[in-house]
């Protein structure tokens, strides 16, 4: 029997893998993909509870999360392109223009 706890554990594991990707990798494109994994973990949680409570509101919020993820990807990748044009790198260790 699969309970919402199973889905929450799966979601937490996916979330942690995404956080590890954000923390450990230096390539900013991989970091953006890890953020997508984190958002997917959130969506799994929302839809698992939507199925458990027999209520479609969780799915509506999952659609909003997907819309925000699409907007984030578009703007973030635009920033990556603009940055790459100036500095010829995607390594976040070299992205220190605004560091004080």
């Amino acid at each position: 029997m699969i309970t919402p706890t199973h889905y929450m554990l799966l979601s937490a594991a996916l979330f942690i893998i995404g956080v590890i990707g954000v923390m450990a990798r230096r390539n900013i494109i991989i970091i953006f993909m890890s953020i997508e994994l984190i958002l997917n973990a959130v969506n799994i949680n929302l839809i698992a509870f939507s199925a458990q409570l027999q209520n479609a509101v969780g799915q509506v919020f999952a659609i909003f999360v997907i819309a925000v993820a699409a907007a984030e990807a578009a703007v973030g990748l635009g920033i990556i392109l603009a940055f790459y044009r100036n500095k010829e790198t995607v390594n976040i260790d070299e992205m220190n223009l605004m560091r004080w």
Binding site: M1, I2, H6, Y7, L10, A13, L14, I17, G18, I20, G21, A24, R25, N27, I29, I30, F32, M33, S34, E36, L37, N40, N43, I44, I47, A48, S50, A51, A56, V57, Q59, V60, A62, I63, F64, I66, A67, V68, A69, A70, A71, E72, A73, A74, V75, L77, G78, I79, I80, L81, A82, Y84, R85, V90
Partner: protein, 171 residues
Amino acid sequence: MGEAIAFYVIAAFILGFAVLVVSTKDTVHSVLFLVLDFLFVAALYVLLQAPFLAAIQILVYAGGIVVLYLFVVMLVNLKRPPEAHQDPHRRTKLGLGLAAAVLLELGAILVYTSTRPATAAAATAALPPVTGNTEQVGWLLYTNYLIPFEIASMLLLVAMIGAIILAKREL
């Protein structure tokens, strides 16, 4: 029982591909593993009786966002050495094989739908209007959550304009 097996198999694939996404050295491979990961998440949505979200997941994530990532990786990844071409006919054969497989699948779908024409359509038509998954989600989106929906569309418009302006060479 069947649900448990499906859940564990799908969960194993999701976590395995997620680990591959964050651990692979080659960025292009990482993006391709991300596609597989999104496809298995969509399968999990089907398991959770959310087929509309599964379709959205495949269309928006696996179809749209990942292609965007792939474009950026191809534009940015200059340090990779150009691949050596050993056998120029290998890819042609591979392409022909894949095209034949797709053609077979399309033919199978056509034969299947022509032999059993009316059952699926009759089943969906017999349902009342606000019980299907897609109908429920759509009904909620256009009644209770109309204003968040409009704000989300505004956000997408702003993001689109912002991305165009950021990626332009000069204004």
